[in-house]
């Protein structure tokens, strides 16, 4: 078991490093400069990648929350926590890069564009989730409560997106279908390839961070238990 997970770790690491440099090369050198927006358009690649990972991390929090409610499990509890932590990082990155991109192309730091606003709400839900996990009490208790909150938060995100979209289209509800398409109709094939590759790279980065974080958190738990045992032995 540990051998397999060691191999997975190595595999992830050795795909991560070259694909990272390749992604940077693709983004900065290979892909053409957009005519209208110029160089800041290159923010787009990593912005989209981080946004994708932010939502993916949240779905994974929801998945482990459901698993945890069905049967409390320390590993699932840890996985959900680490996923939420990484999610906060990537949501922050998405928000900041989105703001800077907005500044460069629309000349405002913030617009209540549905995707941007949903990401902001998502950030708040993540932080609230981490606060729930910071509560004191036995881990089973916290696992259950945070799982409940994770599920409720997951239900909320699509509703937020829809509400903000309705709000933005000035009271002419569109449920599904054409919105304001950001990337424009035609995207150059080089750009598309670069975009897909950077999304792939960031997903690998997420998987790598996730595994490392879970490993460390598990070790922390083991050490905590060993310490408690040692203390009680010393005391007796």
């Amino acid at each position: 078991m540990s051998k397999v997970s060691g191999i997975i770790d190595k595999l992830l690491f050795f795909t991560l490093v070259p694909s990272f440099f390749l992604a940077l090369w693709l983004v900065f050198i290979w892909s053409p400069v957009e005519r209208v927006m110029g160089a800041p358009q290159k923010i787009f690649y990593f912005h989209v990648g981080c946004a994708w990972v932010a939502f993916l991390a949240f779905i994974i929090v929801g998945y482990y929350s459901v698993r945890n409610l069905i049967k409390p499990n320390m590993n699932h509890h840890i996985a959900a926590g680490i996923s939420a932590e990484i999610g906060v990082i990537f949501t922050t990155v998405t928000l900041l890069s989105g703001m800077i991109w907005g500044k460069s192309s629309w000349n405002t730091w913030w617009t209540w564009e549905p995707r941007l606003a949903t990401t902001l709400i998502l950030w708040f839900i993540y932080v609230a989730y981490l606060f729930v996990r910071k509560m004191e009490g036995s881990w089973e208790n916290i696992a259950r409560l945070s799982a409940v909150f994770g599920i409720i938060g997951c239900i909320n995100v699509p509703i937020v997106f829809m509400a903000i979209r309705w709000w933005n289209t000035k009271l002419h509800p569109v449920v599904f279908g054409e919105g304001k398409d950001q990337s424009g109709g035609g995207i150059a094939p080089e750009m598309l390839l670069t975009l897909l590759f950077s999304i792939f790279t960031i997903t690998v980065l997420y998987a790598f961070l996730m595994r490392k974080g879970i490993e460390i958190e598990k070790m922390r738990d083991t050490v905590r238990r060993a310490k408690n045992r040692a203390i009680s032995r010393l005391a007796s």
Binding site: L69, I121, F124, I125, V127, A128, F131, V132, M135, E136, G137, S138, E140, N141, R144, L145, A147, V148, F149, I151, I152, G153, I155, N156, I159, V160, M162, A163, I164, W166, W167, L171, P173
Partner: protein, 226 residues
Amino acid sequence: MSILIDAWTIAWKDLSNELKTKQTIGMMVIFSSLVILVFSFAFDPTNNMVKAVIPGLVWLITIFSGILGLNRSFLSEHENDCLTGLRSAPIDPSSIYLGKVLANFIVVTVVQVISIPVLFILFDYRFLGAILWFMLIVIVGTFGFIIVGTFLAALAANAKNSEMLLPVLLLPLLSPLMIAAVQGTRIVLENQDISDAISWLQLMAAYDLLFLAACFFLFEFIMEGS
């Protein structure tokens, strides 16, 4: 059916307690009046801007005073371990939730009945909209707020700093409801096309139903252990 009867028993317990002391409702009314007062300093009420901020203010005072009441609703059960008593009673845990929702909803509605007219008077706002639609929007919006609020109050009651935790948990989850409620209220108060308000109302109703179902089923997990 028995769930509803049990729920009403619990709601009646809370309400009669409240009728005896009148402490929570009194505090909530005073607090919401104070919020109105502070806002009338912030936005000059003689200005023409009043029309633009009134729909938001209706919901701000509801939420701010509502959070006060929600905080009390489960913390007060911690005294003398009343919650353990409730849990060991031969009733479905979901009926505790429904009862609390009912009690909180009635309390917040009573506060609204007083504080919303106060808001209109202090801001010297002439009400021209359709009053029935306005009431419907307020009721559906408040119900959604209480559904999620009661659930999270039960969740937050497990923490030591639950008064601080509750708003942090509650406000992001309320954001879609609040957008819909404020927009719907604005349309009604400005006497615009009512069909737009209806689509916001539908969104609120969908939110209410979805979260009522989710909270109803998940409440058992909050009550376990703790």
